[in-house]
Symmetry: C2
Subunit: 221 residues, 2 copies
């Protein structure tokens, strides 16, 4: 990809714009995490939304980077103070999206990536419809999905079975998404998600500074 | 760009989809023709919509390739028989889009590129809303636009003046488009238009075969 295209300052010249929320959802094992990491690594205009969770920290995870790990009582406080854009219970634990960092990023013209499930996406949509671009990542086949889940050392057989069942539930929500990408090959899928991000940045409605730019154009500048 | 991404068959695996109509509009001199030609040259899934016109053929133009050149009486016949998706008068001549080749392409999952003005875009939108993705190309400045128009040997001074005046009129319609691309650099602008085409192909609503694909997935295939 051309370097200039992924540089927000070059996207529309000096035209200011509001950031967007890029939502990636998929059953686990469909490659969403790999896609998110690669997209974030190559695109300086994109930051990850860090979720708050009550689930225990896994080995290698860093507080404030992978998740913000909190006690259930603190999570409840954030819900009551309306500091979360969405929150949900998944596998006996709570997850939520802090509102303030997202609002700050969007106002500054930076984009935010969300790695959340269909419940979170539905809630975000209700709160932030115009800022959202949602992408559902599908695995190429059930067999491939199972193979990918089994190859993860960290998941027990019981966990694999539970995730396969949850996958069927997650997949049933694909019609609620703006875009659908089938992850046959991670490089092709990455090209496709990158194109979606670039296109969404170019939407007229997001380029808040276009009116002024055109006024200057029409004035002969 | 990855070859596979521009191959419609690889876009969603074996998932059938309805083609889309990619509309590019801009004042002349903003680079729309160069962008169209390069996009068509690299993307086998995209074909150009060939307009019918009553204007005289210019040197080097080929009938049936650049335009379908017809007499005013034949143009009127096509209008009366409702064989045109849109038609308009520009600079004393008539232009129109034949409906049949477009319908055939979309049904076969092929995409069609339109190089038309705001009038044509408004009419197409009314007829084919869900099939349309519209892009407005802006020049970086009025000075640059004038420079580009003057550098075209084929346009007389009078024609340049007329086109500059028409440009201001054309530019006033930018808010009616889905996407806006400012053509500072043709390579960057091409990357951006290409990303818009890729993203539009991935829209859930265009991938008609997704329902069947997901059914097979959920059945364990």
């Amino acid at each position: 990809m051309n370097k200039q295209t992924s540089d927000p300052a070059a996207m529309g010249g000096q035209i200011s714009r509001r950031g967007l929320m890029l939502v990636l959802s998929s059953p686990s094992g469909a490659g969403k995490t790999t896609l998110s990491r690669r997209l974030l690594a190559e695109d300086p205009g994109l930051t990850m939304s860090i979720s708050v969770t009550t689930r225990p920290k896994r080995p290698g995870e860093r507080d404030g980077v992978d998740y913000i790990f909190v006690e259930p009582v603190d999570f409840d406080l954030m819900v009551n103070r309306r500091q979360l854009l969405e929150h949900a219970k998944v596998f006996d634990h709570y997850y939520g999206t802090p509102a303030e960092p997202v609002e700050n990023a969007l106002s500054a013209g930076r984009d935010v990536l969300f790695d959340i499930d269909w419940q979170g996406t539905q809630d975000l949509k209700e709160e932030m419809r115009d800022d959202l671009a949602s992408v559902f990542i599908l695995p190429p086949s059930t067999r491939e999905l199972e193979r990918r889940l089994k190859s993860r050392a960290r998941d027990s057989d019981e966990e694999v079975a539970r995730r396969m069942s949850k996958a069927a539930d997650e997949i049933s929500h694909w019609p609620e998404y703006d875009y659908v990408v089938v992850n046959h090959d991670v490089d092709v899928a990455l090209d496709q998600v990158r194109a979606i991000l670039t296109a969404e940045r170019l939407k007229r409605a997001r380029q808040a500074g276009l009116g002024d730019f055109v006024k200057r154009l029409r004035d002969g500048q």
